[in-house]
Symmetry: C2
Subunit: 154 residues, 2 copies
DNA sequence: TATTGTTATACTCTATAACTATA
DNA sequence: TATAGTTATAGAGTATAACAATA
């Protein structure tokens, strides 16, 4: 039955999700980072300096939560808070050299992981896998309103 | 370049992971359940009554953590604690009628979601997607030691 | 009056360590 | 001596509400 095949495929997708999350979390932990803090660094890496308000929107998380994450990342030297020029209420959060080194390292590891998981798949198979995943993502995106962060994840 | 194609495919996989997690969490929250508690119910659904020790092993989480999760699920009426016949140190955790109704509902919704995401994919495409995902899972499983829970996730 | 970020408070998941009751 | 589960303590992520400074 096709229905069972679909269910088994969704199961596979969920298993892979868990495995990927576990694998990445372990790598980050070794460097003293959590998933939430890394996600914030990742947003800064892609978007450049941002206000905490902007980060809260990007991460879809409360402003109060951002305060805590930025506090921790300042303490550990990954980001700095500087006054916002032109709005004295706001601060600009930006990556330090250490922060930039980290996110650039992540890009490389990300690429390496992609190679490890998909590198020996024939190009035609990779294209078909990609197409299948696009199909799934297209169905899924409308189910989760207020996404916009597609891909920006560590 | 093939490398970039692989990276883009991994990105897609990560985006889908996030979307799936968000979608499922929202559904559960509406019923007063968190991901961790639901995961425990899911294990009971598949394995039947279990000791807290057994649950800790299955969930790969500390015994102390299980105490808290079971406390909450007892309070909300999803499981019961009964004395273990034959070992007076241990307790058996089992689903109540409410708990069973919930997990059975999850099975149905899971199937429905699979149909929604994959139902209109031609059988051949579904088979190729499935094969591609199997390839990824095969590469990924050895990277995450002590898994064994493949598929058992809510 | 609205917005930015903070303090105050609280809940959940998670962990380790020490302890009790049993094996 | 080892195991099952609890109490004690702690850290991280998350949220809402009230508040200060600024727009």
């Amino acid at each position: 039955m096709t229905g069972d095949r679909a269910t088994a495929t969704l199961d596979l997708l969920l298993e892979i999700s868990t495995l990927l999350a576990t694998d990445m979390r372990r790598d980050l932990q070794a460097r003293g980072l959590t998933a939430a803090r890394t996600h914030l660094l990742w947003v800064l890496h892609h978007a450049g300096p941002a206000t905490q308000r902007g980060l809260a929107d990007a991460l879809q998380v409360s402003p109060r939560n951002v305060t805590g994450l930025v506090d921790a990342l300042v303490d550990t030297g990954f980001v700095t808070r500087t006054p916002h020029p032109g709005d004295r209420r706001a601060v600009l959060v930006e990556l330090t050299g250490k922060g930039r080194a980290l996110t650039e390292g992540l890009v490389g590891e990300h690429r390496q992981l992609a190679g490890q998981l998909l590198g020996d798949l024939p190009a035609a198979d990779l294209a078909r896998l990609s197409a299948g995943l696009e199909h799934v993502a297209d169905k899924l995106r409308p189910l989760v309103p207020g996404d916009e962060m597609g891909g920006h994840r560590a």
